[in-house]
Subunit: 366 residues, 2 copies
Amino acid sequence: MKRGTTHDGPGPSASPPAAPHPGGATLDDVAALAGVARSTASRAVNGSHEVSEKARAAVQRAVAELGYVPNGAARALVSSRTDAIALVVPETQTRLFSEPYFSDVISGVSMEVAAADMQLLLILVRNEGERRRLTAYLRSHRVDGVILVSVHRDDPLPTLLEELGTPTVLAGRRGENESLSYVAGDNHGGARTAVQHLIGAGRTRIATIAGPLDMEVARTRLAGYRDALQRAGQAPTDDLVEVSDFTEEGGGTAMRALLRRAPDIDAVFCASDVMAAGALQALRSAGRRVPEDVALVGFDDSIIARHTTPALTSVRQPVEEIGRAIARLLLDQVAEPKRPRRQLILPTELVVRQSAPGDRTSAAKS
Amino acid sequence: MKRGTTHDGPGPSASPPAAPHPGGATLDDVAALAGVARSTASRAVNGSHEVSEKARAAVQRAVAELGYVPNGAARALVSSRTDAIALVVPETQTRLFSEPYFSDVISGVSMEVAAADMQLLLILVRNEGERRRLTAYLRSHRVDGVILVSVHRDDPLPTLLEELGTPTVLAGRRGENESLSYVAGDNHGGARTAVQHLIGAGRTRIATIAGPLDMEVARTRLAGYRDALQRAGQAPTDDLVEVSDFTEEGGGTAMRALLRRAPDIDAVFCASDVMAAGALQALRSAGRRVPEDVALVGFDDSIIARHTTPALTSVRQPVEEIGRAIARLLLDQVAEPKRPRRQLILPTELVVRQSAPGDRTSAAKS
DNA sequence: GCTCATTCTGGAAGCGCTCCCATGAATTTG
DNA sequence: CAAATTCATGGGAGCGCTTCCAGAATGAGC
């Protein structure tokens, strides 16, 4: 007995023989029961190869009997590995987090993290105070690695992490020349495919509602849009481009602006489903039929895409797979810090629904 | 200097004078710089009152200069407080997690946890393996408290936690006699209000699509439905009740079953928006107009409620507030373990939209 | 049978921190 | 002015674990 400091005399307490002390068994208890030294027990528990079969078996039996679970703090203290990674989500926009994108990324990340027997810390950053707190936290080496979701161009966090040497993977990149590891969906290709789909359906005046241009996703999707037009021999004009903010309201406003500026448009590619939902509403209010008068394509294939009337044609990203890839990259980097950065772009897929069918004539079912 | 092994010479780096060694400054460094003993520095850092103003100031200066951040593992090891709480989400149903309910609960929890300067661990449990892993984890005393979201009646986890003496708060209760602390929305009252709204709108054949009855939420909402009918003097019949599974598909199936069994229904209260969306689809396919022929009310006021056509009347829970309350209860319990359990039921609110307007005549805008 | 290489093993040194305890200074009191 | 009290302080003992190191045990080689 080690911790019990209270009484040593032959106390009358007939406490149960198990559970030697409150906090659970320690490695010393295991070693004692197995009849080996603590160091040997440690090796056995951690699967070192320099342990005889006999010793290992004895230790395993003791572990099982005592229900021993290593104390994470002690282990972290000495090995300076925490077996935890942080997932940082800036939640500045309302309910950004509730977008299935985040949930699915988290879900994918969680799978891999659990499989590696590590822990996932979720850190939501809503304001300056929480941001400062996060900075201090990251400096305190309490996690082995960091995943950053939804990074803005000028976000100082990635730079900080780079300086600290903390293994980091971004969900999406900051710009075209991203120095950190990242995983993203093929935004450019997805957007291009979407617009090509519209072109293929005979649309000739195709506008776009872009996201805020300080986000690389938005820029890339816009570039994909332009690329598709260019490839089709249509010079992209700026008055068919409206920059918005990824919100439903913003989508509506942008749509009205487009209709005012170019009343003859017959298709709109929206850089997100949420904006598309707003645009749809605006189109309806303006008396345009979707898809007969104006075809509409969104991006993300989020829940609402399936629930609008007509349902939205949208670009789906393999979001959960993105999450898993992120986690795998990060875990690799944690295990082997000097390994070169890696970037991964995963293919997207166009999901065709009624808001933009494959040909102009097919009617949408109300 | 202790850990710094790389170089000691006056490097040309103009980086801040701090960071004496890679892992960050230790309390010993702080103490040395402040000219006090480590124990004094510790007291100063932790805000003990038994420190002279002078010493405190010196320590604070040193902390600032060195950019000192306490090592969490070391602190946890000795004080056996981890400053972390776990949020456990069983994600057995697909994308259950993507329901705004979870996101908002998490968001609320996160706020309070951050304000208390603690960490939030997110643990998704998808299968038996992850469940076993969680059990081992909880036994290892690596978190100060646990939040359990979406508990089923016979979930063994709450019992385990109760045995371990780990402070625990549930989001929702297991049954009517819940022994643990919990916070939930007023499911009974919400359901009752929803049905009363339908009655008030002149509906006379009101059916319900319930959730799986091994979940207390589902039972409670069903009870609320029955309560409303009873109060209105209508004896609730079982052939107007269809039990489903909280999925969209399930909602559709249930709706078709109801229509077959009772073609004359003129309203349906669905225990979730997702099921309501499925029901809506089914109604439309069956040629019923919503709300003219059949009024529809959902529950949760999730994103899709606003995006279906017609938009869904739905019961909103103060989800973020639920999250905050959960965190507060838990943090209280962590600080004061013997404090009695507390249960909290937060009021809900009916959001009226086109799928079930306040009176029978008002037309829904397509 | 004895030496040398090859495993295994136990002892011991910390990781960075908190907190108990004894010391000595400062303060109060008879 | 000495004795009693208070209070900040530094020393030191761990918390439970990993890991280095040296020594014991085993096996191989001549």
